[in-house]
């Protein structure tokens, strides 16, 4: 099967192996009461072709702003990328001007938001809106763009898409609007799809369908997908790898199987113990006490220390680094990091 992405990209093997998205040492800051504070700090992650990386964490930990930065949409002037690189297809978008960004946005990189009505124009027909990206980015004429838009709407399973092509967004149900959003996002066959809580507002039945659709599209086009959610059930369903964020930092990153089977960071463990599960009876939950600090009140040392059951003096003294404890599995924790694992023997389980 020839996928459009490979048709356009060079067939050079090194290019194919290169991650579609590579974020390196990214810091994003906001100005709060005249001072710059980091909302995302020293963040590094990558997503490869045909891979879904889930970004999870509590509200306010920096998931959305990370995704927005990949679109070059950090709000100015109150926000800025203070340092780091964001390579998309090997091109650092932090250093691109607005005109070049426009060419990439909605074309090579597309984003789906939680609330479709905020990104759909209520006065334009859905057919027009899906076709628009094709006219702008692919230079198709009106007829060709409409034909392709209809094909994409059928691909996302809008029932009687031809008949509903000229409908307006308000004539669609919530789940259907989310599918239109997905159609707009994938119209130009992006290499990278950023999905910011795309199913949070939907019923579980519709959520399952949308997740199935995204998974099919990822496979069909070999897309890289950065999937933001705080629902660990959704993570287990769709992710290949998982990055857990806390207070603007990645605190753990691993394959989906490793993170569910052997969570290493106490925050990750805490999140797992807090979910009420449909497949368990007589469960006891344990909440993580306290809340995420706001960006202008970040503690020194480990940012999670104040809520952490494993807190030690070292945790307040210095910030832990994100370090590998197994191939592809890294954790940012003084207690659970590699330094303490030496005595546990190679491949030892998570202590504690």
């Amino acid at each position: 099967m020839t996928t459009p992405a490979t048709q356009r990209a060079s067939t050079d093997q090194s290019v194919l192996d290169r991650p579609v998205l590579a974020i390196d040492d990214l810091t994003i800051e906001f100005r709060v009461r005249g001072q710059w504070h980091a909302a995302v700090r020293d963040l590094s992650l990558s997503v490869g072709r045909n891979e879904t990386l889930a970004l999870v964490g509590e509200s306010g930990c920096g998931k959305s702003i990370t995704a927005l930065s990949v679109m070059g949409l950090v709000p100015k002037p109150q926000g800025r990328v203070a340092k780091g690189r964001i390579d998309v297809d090997g091109q650092d978008i932090v250093r691109l001007d607005e005109a070049r960004l426009e060419k990439i946005r909605g074309n090579r990189v597309a984003m789906i938001f939680q609330e479709p009505m905020t990104s759909l124009n209520p006065v334009l027909t859905i057919g027009f809106q899906v076709a628009e990206a094709l006219r702008v980015h692919r230079g198709l004429d009106a007829a060709a763009a409409d034909a392709e838009a209809l094909r994409v709407l059928e691909e996302v399973k809008i029932p009687s898409a031809a008949r509903r092509f000229h409908d307006h967004p308000h004539q669609f149900s919530g789940g259907m609007r989310q599918r239109v959003m997905i159609a707009m996002a994938i119209a130009c066959k992006p290499a990278l799809l950023l999905a910011d809580e795309p199913t949070t507002a939907l019923d579980v039945t519709i959520q399952a369908q949308v997740l199935g659709l995204l998974d099919d599209l990822k496979t069909a086009y070999g897309m890289a997908m950065l999937f933001i959610t705080h629902n660990l059930g959704v993570v287990a369903t769709i992710a290949d790898r998982v990055a857990v964020m806390y207070a603007g930092e990645v605190v753990e990153i691993a394959s989906v199987h490793a993170i569910f089977a052997r969570p290493a960071h106490p925050y990750t463990e805490g999140l797992f113990r807090a979910i009420p599960r449909i497949d368990r009876s007589e469960q006891t939950l344990s909440a993580i006490a306290g809340q995420v600090p706001s960006i202008d009140r970040m503690p020194g040392g480990c940012r999670f220390a104040a809520r952490c059951p494993l807190r030690e003096p070292a945790c307040d003294a210095s910030s832990p680094r994100l370090e590998e404890i197994a191939p592809g599995h890294a954790v940012r924790c003084h207690v659970r990091g590699p330094a303490r694992r030496v005595g546990m023997g190679a491949g030892g389980g998570v202590g504690g």
Partner: protein, 326 residues
């Protein structure tokens, strides 16, 4: 079930709305259609189902926050729907509601202490200002808020803290039953767990009963002993939570369960692919409303709404079960 304290029979609420442009037509939405259930003393009774199936309308109609069009609601033998003003006032104290969005239900200009004290004063639950003060402080402590919260405004609190304020306000009148309408849906997992723990502790300590509305089946499984599954205004299956989830009888219950993501990648199944659109409550399909999405649909399902049958601890309305006598 323990002694029934709340008994709902044939509850009905229809809305009329104008739809369409340029020539609007009036449509009837059968938001709640012949709903019956019982809640025991100290029990948590869950109501689940997709958006628009009538969960909130049911919760509100029980408390007469919206007037139902038909049916009966009895609370400890008192006919709630026929209660004269004096008796209704007393019922309003004993039956409270907690909403999904605590912010919109709190007056932003009222300090938290005032918001808690006001209903006590109105219902004459405390005599002196000192007594009210003491009770406010005890309430804040009970829901895990610092004592100085009384002098702060709602916007100074986080989402989870605001939900605690909403719960404290419901508790201020010493209620016996709380209708909780999606009380944790807007909260992060960690905060959600804090609030669920709080509700469970209050239930144990105060012997409270709950009608607990939610769309997250994991939350319902954690909090509720029994539950009802609603589809387009009607209860399609009802029974003990553990049985419903381990062995759903109604195909819709099964669909909901199977669509609920399990936080375990080893359990990853095939995701459902898209079938038709969910019908609108304004135009429910003929016969069994679920037949347009049902994997087990039979000809009879298009013709007749199935009557409820009892199977063990459960009640189910589906032509797959029972003799469906006419």
């Amino acid at each position: 079930m323990k002694d029934t304290i709340l008994s709902v029979r044939g509850l009905r609420k229809h809305f009329t709305a104008s739809r369409g442009f340029p020539r609007a037509t009036t449509v009837t939405i059968r938001a709640v259609d012949d709903v019956s259930f019982d809640v025991g003393a100290g029990e948590s009774f869950g109501i689940v189902g997709e958006s628009g199936c009538g969960k909130s309308t049911t919760g509100r109609a029980i408390l007469r926050l919206i007037e139902p069009d038909g049916g009966t609601v009895r609370y400890r033998g008192i006919d709630v729907l026929a209660a004269p003003p004096g008796a209704l006032r007393d019922l309003r104290r004993r039956l409270q509601i907690v909403f999904q969005d605590p912010y919109s239900s709190l007056n932003p200009r009222l300090k938290v202490g005032r918001a808690l004290a006001e209903p006590m004063r109105v219902h004459g639950l405390a005599k002196s200002a000192d007594e009210i003060d003491a009770r406010v402080r005890a309430l804040l402590d009970e829901v895990g808020l610092p004592p100085d919260s009384a002098d702060r405004f709602p916007h100074e609190f986080s989402g989870g803290q605001r939900q605690r304020i909403g719960i404290a306000r419901a508790l201020a009148l010493e209620p016996e039953l709380i209708v909780a309408d999606e009380p944790v849906s807007a909260l992060d997992v960690s905060i959600q767990a804090q609030v669920l723990e709080l509700l469970r502790r209050l239930q144990a300590q105060r012997g409270l009963s709950f009608v607990f509305i939610a769309h997250d089946l994991g939350v319902v499984r954690y909090f509720c002993q029994r539950l009802a599954v609603m589809y387009l205004g009607r209860i399609v299956e009802m029974g003990p939570a553990a049985d419903l989830f381990s062995d759903p009888l109604h195909p819709y219950t099964r669909m909901l369960r199977d669509a609920s993501p399990v936080p375990d990648p080893a359990m990853r199944g095939r995701l459902p692919r898209i079938e038709g659109e969910t019908p609108s409550p304004a135009a429910p399909p003929s016969g069994c409303h679920f037949h347009t999405r049902c994997p087990n649909v039979m000809p009879v399902c298009r013709e007749r709404y199935p009557s409820a049958v009892e199977i063990g601890t459960r009640q189910v309305s589906c032509h797959l079960y029972g003799t469906s006598a006419t």
